[in-house]
Symmetry: C2
Subunit: 582 residues, 2 copies
């Protein structure tokens, strides 16, 4: 067998269980409320025949996609455990989507209500296939998690309506079609995705304001050597490319994505894993153009990179991809959602000044006019436990650490940890087949000295993947111990925007200093850190249970408190910085 | 009498005479050609009744304004000296504008051809009063320079059509109306401008994507303490505010603009005088948010600040405003136009990387889809000599330095200088009345030791304004000698984006290092300068006659050649930086 995701995972407590619970109990219900308020559901009702005015701020044509992303998250959550309130809300929305679909299978509220009912007239900006991709992804979730094929039926009718010679300005449909093909077993869905990838990159879409690179139509997908243009578009496109490459055994295509990804992570990724430095076109900038204050670092781009790195991890087994997932989840994705689960950031700057330009609050918002990020966070958190482990004929591979019970057809592992606050992870073998197999664990690259203790004693292990092959017994315990002292990080000297600064990290977490933790009567802009003095981890129960902050020495003998970057902007306005002048 | 501009100025040679000549002989004829190619004239023909499709990339509604700015420049040039080719082109365009005007006086090709002929339907984005403002400014130029009132007749009919309770999303009409009132002597034009200023700042325009601050509708004009939003809009608005304040003797309004201007120059201006650091909404950023690579620094914003500083200089006589005009003209405006006069920059970054994001050339363009900057440069250069000097009952004030003959009703001064390459300025008194009067000269703040030599000997003078009151005789000579060694400038420590860097300046000029002048086989990103070693001025005839470059010592004993920033990007692509890591 090839490698498979361990789907039967139960988060049993600790950091991730808590975040996933908040998503389920607060974020997703909040999403349903907001989809009602913002008009998304209203617009589907209009498409289904109700009377009224289409509601879309700035005439955004992709509001249906927010509904589908929400449905996808609900599907995964109902698969985790029943929840009557969510189920009945979802039933209502699924019925609405079904009612909105035209007899010919076409389904897009914007085109049906505002666009004169003429499909595919504006492939560049219309987002029709993008929305359909999200519908498919929701359908896949409901099929996989619940065996409920109501959405799948709708999606298949909608897909049948799509001409086979078009591409969308916003990729997404490609990876969705591959996943659909995996369920239906029909080759044509894969073929359609592959064809879309080949059509792209030849100036296929009409020239527009931001140029062909904006939607990756400037160079063929298998030739472009660097990421370009709109970050989410590039990353969704490359997700589709990996999926197609894996299904077709197309090594050249896979190699092209890996090359781009390596280059991107080396030259265009923020320390937080954030991607896309430009506000104007939500785009990747020049190599090393990584301003902390004007970082765009859209929450969706971080989510998209977790999706892409996961695909590359599955395709290659290399630990670097799981390292990137970890960095990005903690420091690129989580900052997009408040600790309470109901306020969001669309962009994730690494610096906020005390005094700001008039207009705009710089604060988390309960929803956005363009609300792609909040429901994207919902579906990401609903599937987080699917990132923890994989298995194949040789054994089980642990990629991410959280307290969870992991079940494969023949084994049950109980993983327990205080991660990310504590670097010890224990794995109890609860059930195991009689024959020998290999347990693999990722040793993160940030770890400078790690040890593994098991039935054969304690050994130092290097960053990468550590493997233990044996005839496991029920009751065996393995403990991975990752040192995680607070550490100072100097930036790459080619990053002009943070020259002369340092950042503070601990374990997988990037830290920041907020105004609330600056010395009294001191603005964040006046601080200069003294990296020769010692960093001191300190408990921060004022912000979250078990949270570890770091006291950072400043010049003049003062100290400022750093907290994990993901927890910033939960205490009102005020300055913040990740990179601190040294 | 109050202070008046010395209009009878003849540039006799040297730096500015050359730039003004290139504008007249190359840039303005190029503009006529481009207005033909881009569709601006075509669209006016449609408004006049011809058949055809309206041409406007991205449906920009303000293409008429480019025509008016061009006409304004031509008016000033024909006032300088006849030029039959330009005159006949202008006659053709004026006739076209006259033919496009509706019988009721309304005139806007976009609204007449595309917008169903319904005026003022989209005050936020329609730019109708903005275009009208430019028409008025062209009319004023033709009236003042030539006594030709063809455009004035058209403008007055168009103004009569404007309701008195509206404002435009893009200010400009306000200052134009004040100028119109100065010509017509009619109070209602001034009153109209004053009313528009009072209406603004109360959320008068409908809420839109970038928020009310984008068009300065978030706070009343006389209350806002800082500049905000779209830079050109803010600066044009404040030009109108100064004009109204001066005409009405409204000191509170004038004080509000001065307060904003001081704050802007202290917290939001680039070393080059460039303004507006954000691409997304062409807006001012937070205080000290001044990225060199992503500097927007629109050419029009620099021009607008010269216009504003000139008004503040006339209103107050303070030398700081003339200092800002000098810095901005040399380093903020001139970089927007190639040395050959026919290629332009819309944005003026202070850094260009060797390796760049796909899409976009980073090179000067012969024209832009949104072509506000090129004709704005034309009218700015056509009026440059009006910035040199003013006079009043007490005497003559010299603000800017260039070789020129300056004539007031009773005096003729012959100013001669090798400025900006050489810091000596001699002023010959050729004609003078018998009674005594005061000659004032600005001593730029960048000058660290300056001397003034005149009939009463040689004296050291401080930065600011130096005055010499005497009974002048024909043949008297005054020489101002400004030291201008090459100097290293450290940035304000609050500017995060250039921490650890220095800039090189000499006299009024900011310098930059281009790839072409880096040591062999060295990318611009690898350079680190050694500010302890000496800077060496060197002739650079390879770029322009008389140009002085500076050899800048780098670490490792190497040297890189710096050239004036205004002359960058005239030798093809390649990296460039103003701020150099030290």
């Amino acid at each position: 067998m090839s490698v498979a995701v361990v789907h039967r995972v139960e988060l049993t407590g600790g950091f991730w269980a808590d975040r996933v619970r908040i998503n389920r109990e607060h974020t997703i219900p909040h999403g349903f409320e907001q989809l009602g308020k913002a008009g998304n559901l209203h617009n589907l009702r209009l498409a289904a025949g109700a009377e009224g005015e289409y509601r879309s701020p700035d005439a955004l044509p992709f509001l249906d996609s927010d509904v589908y992303k929400w449905l996808e998250a609900v599907g995964w959550e109902l698969g985790r455990a029943p929840e009557p309130g969510l189920a009945s809300a979802a039933d209502e929305v699924i019925a609405l989507v079904a009612a909105a679909q035209r007899p010919d299978g076409y389904l897009n509220s914007y085109v049906q209500v505002v666009g004169g009912g003429v499909p595919y007239r504006d492939l560049s900006w219309g987002h029709e296939l993008y929305c359909l991709g999200h519908l498919i992804q929701a359908a896949v979730a409901w099929h996989r998690a619940l065996g409920d094929d109501r959405l799948l039926t709708i999606a298949l009718r909608a897909v049948a309506h799509v001409p086979d010679d078009i591409i969308d300005g916003h990729p997404n449909i490609e990876m969705a079609l591959v996943d659909l093909g995996r369920i239906t077993g029909e080759r044509r869905h894969l073929t359609m995705a592959a064809r879309m990838l080949e059509l792209r990159g030849h100036g296929t879409l009409p020239a527009a304001r931001f140029g062909a690179a904006y939607w990756q139509d400037h160079e063929p997908v298998r030739e472009a050597s660097s990421v370009a243009g709109h970050a989410v578009r590039q990353l969704y496109l490359d997700c589709g490319a990996v999926d197609v490459a894996v299904e077709l055994g197309d090594d050249r295509l896979l190699a092209a994505v890996r090359r781009r990804w390596d280059d991107m992570m080396r030259t265009r990724a923020y320390l937080t894993g954030g991607l896309g430095s430009r506000h104007r076109d939500e785009a990747f900038g020049d190599p090393y153009e990584l301003p902390p204050d004007r970082a765009y670092a859209e929450t969706c781009a971080a989510i998209a990179n977790v999706m892409l790195a996961r695909r590359l991890s599955l395709a290659t087994g290399e630990a670097g991809y799981a390292d990137a997932i970890e960095r990005t989840m903690f420091n690129g994705v989580l900052p997009g959602i408040a600790l309470n689960g109901t306020e969001f950031f669309y962009t994730n700057p690494l610096q906020r000044r005390t005094h700001r330009a008039p207009g705009g609050t710089g604060q988390r918002q309960p929803w956005y006019r363009c609300a792609c990020c909040p429901p994207n966070l919902m579906r990401m958190l609903s599937t987080w436990e699917q990132h923890l482990a994989t298995y194949d004929d040789s054994g089980i591979q642990l990629h991410q650490y959280a307290s969870a019970d992991l079940r494969t057809p023949a084994t049950l592992l109980r993983m327990r940890t205080g991660y990310p606050w504590d670097g010890r992870i224990t794995v109890h073998v609860a059930e195991t087949p009689a024959q020998s197999w290999t347990l693999s664990l990722r040793v993160p690259r940030w770890s400078r000295s790690a040890t593994l203790t098991g039935p054969d004693g304690t050994h130092t292990v290097d960053a990468g993947v550590v493997k233990r092959h044996r005839r496991w017994q029920p009751g065996d315990v393995v403990e991975l111990s990752l040192d995680q002292p607070a550490r100072i990080t100097e930036p790459d000297p080619r990053i002009d925007a943070v020259r002369g600064c340092v950042a503070v990290q601990r374990g997988p977490l990037v830290y920041c200093i907020e105004a609330a933790d600056a010395p009294p009567r001191t603005e964040i802009e006046e601080l200069t850190c003294d990296p020769r003095r010692e960093l001191t981890p300190v408990p921060r129960p004022d912000i979250a249970e078990a949270m570890v902050g770091i006291d950072v020495p400043m010049t003049g003998g003062r100290t400022a408190g750093a907290i994990p970057y993901f927890a910033w902007a939960n205490r009102g306005p005020g300055g913040m910085r990740v990179w601190i002048p040294a």
